[in-house]
């Protein structure tokens, strides 16, 4: 039986830690009079019965011909019953966000952190979502180098328990004690031809084996230069190991192919017809050092594409490929062995 967070973690301490790590890091829309490439977002992945759900609340500064503009963006993707999704953009006057807390309102949609529990509410045309996400691990913060002076702060809560309801049109799906992942990212960087990343996580499906693994690799577009990479390992609620840059080797082989791919926003499909993604047919990661070792083998099953405008070139794009598949994870950390398979999500980001 699962221990509830209230049992296994000092709830008050966790709430305090999350209150700091997951608070909004900058006043929304602060620098509308100067060029800004600040981005901050809150990302959730939930394993729902028969699929996966991705929820992303973003606050973005954009710079255009008429000066700076800050906006909120809500992205929802669901693989249940098949890939569907929506991207909604909100001008600054439809966004409520205060630095130092997580109480975010994008139009009618909200994300709150109350007493160490995340509450998500989405009320869109033909889409309803209410979620409560209770952390099962402590948050961990890293800084990811993106090349040049750019970097991204990354707070991870790799395992949560989600409950709630998803409604798509006339169909509803009850979500009860589902495994979930969350991260919070912020920093100044530009979507450009010089930035690509690979990111993913795997949560052991067997509760008796409470391991969670999260990895990331940030690189230039061709993958010739890796800016930073890391693999973080949790045992139960505790972060027990980070494999760093030189301890990690990644191999990609083949190309994942599918006939069609959901592409959002829809005009993105007009600009990028077809389903091309650059996602490999197989992704393998090996890490080792100081007596510990780990392998992750990920096989994609299907993907959807989120198309973003490049910050550097008015006729270029950045494509975020959200990919579902299975990960096989094996290794030893601190003398303890783990070996599990997990249905999961990886993200492959590249310029196009």
């Amino acid at each position: 039986m699962r221990a509830s967070p209230a049992d296994s973690l000092a709830n008050e301490g966790l709430g305090l830690a999350l209150g700091r790590s997951d608070a909004l890091k900058r006043e929304f829309g602060r620098s509308s009079d100067v060029p800004s490439d600040y981005k901050e977002w809150f990302h959730f992945c939930v394993e729902v019965p028969g699929g996966h759900l991705i929820v992303n609340f973003s606050l973005v500064d954009r710079w255009g011909a008429k000066g700076g503009r800050s906006e909120g963006v809500l992205t929802i993707l669901s693989t249940w019953p098949h890939w569907r999704g929506v991207v909604r953009r909100f001008p600054s006057d439809a966004v409520r966000a205060r630095e130092g807390e997580l109480d975010l309102q994008l139009g009618p949609h909200s994300l709150r952190l109350t007493g160490g529990v995340f509450e998500v509410s989405v009320d869109d045309e033909r889409l309803g979502l209410s979620l409560r996400l209770t952390p099962r691990t402590w948050p961990t913060q890293s800084r990811l180098r993106l090349g040049g002076a750019s970097s991204l702060e990354w707070v991870i809560v790799p395992q949560l328990e989600a409950s709630g309801e998803l409604t798509l049109g006339a169909r509803s799906l009850r979500i009860a004690t589902a495994r979930a992942y969350h991260d919070h990212n912020w920093g100044r960087f530009r979507w450009s031809a010089d930035l690509a990343w690979e990111w993913g996580f795997a949560i052991a499906e067997n509760d008796a084996e409470p391991w969670t693994v999260v990895f990331s690799r940030l690189m230039d577009q061709g993958g010739r230069r890796t800016f930073s990479q890391g693999v973080l390992v949790w045992q139960g609620p505790s972060h027990v190991r980070t494999f760093h840059d030189r301890e990690i080797r990644i191999a990609r082989s083949g190309f994942h192919r599918q006939r069609e791919a959901l592409t959002l926003p829809p005009v993105g499909a007009f600009l990028m017809p077809g389903a091309a993604s650059g996602v490999p047919a197989r992704f393998e990661l090996e890490a080792g050092g100081l007596g510990d070792d780990l392998t992750i083998a990920f096989s994609p099953e299907s993907h959807a594409r989120i198309v973003l405008p490049s910050d550097d070139n008015a006729l270029q794009l950045t494509v975020v490929n959200e990919v579902v598949g299975r990960a096989q994870v094996r290794g030893h950390v601190g003398g303890r062995a783990f070996d599990f398979s997990s249905a999961t999500i990886m993200e492959f980001v590249r310029a196009a």
Partner: protein, 150 residues
């Protein structure tokens, strides 16, 4: 001299989408105008030909009054499918659900203009709302069969 613009519902959509580019992504309106140059393009949806050209920096959109360098004929279902990402322009061309007539150079220029329009639409925060209003308008009509993403 151009007649007064009297856009139909579809013409209104074209006009508004170009107006959005002017407001929210002017670079792409300029790129679109540069790609089209002097050319007139006529788009006919269910017998409502709408003509678009750039007599100056700003577009003119109205009823087709003169011969065009390029004409496009399609249906509202095909157009909505392409705007919604459920259909491909190339597939609609191959299946004769969308027909483009013009010289090769003129058609390629229109393709460049459409790509500039698409990049601008992606960067314009209000574009998705305009698209939904357009689809809602036709979804209410008996002849149309337009479905939403969700």
């Amino acid at each position: 001299m151009l007649p007064d613009a009297q856009p139909s519902a579809f013409g209104g959509f074209v006009n508004e989408s170009l107006g959005l580019l002017a407001q929210e992504s002017p670079f792409h309106l300029q790129a679109l105008a540069a790609a089209l140059g002097h050319r007139r393009i006529t788009i006919a949806i269910k017998g409502e030909p709408v003509q678009c050209l750039f007599p100056g920096p700003q577009p003119w959109v109205g009823s087709a009054s003169e011969a065009s360098e390029v004409t496009v004929e399609t249906t509202i279902e095909t157009l909505a499918g392409i705007l919604d990402g459920d259909d491909l322009l190339a597939r609609a061309l191959i299946d004769d659900r969308l027909i483009i007539r013009g010289s090769c150079d003129d058609v390629l220029a229109v393709d460049d203009a459409l790509r500039a329009w698409g990049h601008g639409a992606l960067r314009s925060p209000s574009f998705s709302l305009l698209c939904e209003r357009f689809k809602s308008h036709y979804a209410g009509a008996k002849h149309a069969r337009v479905e939403f993403k969700w």
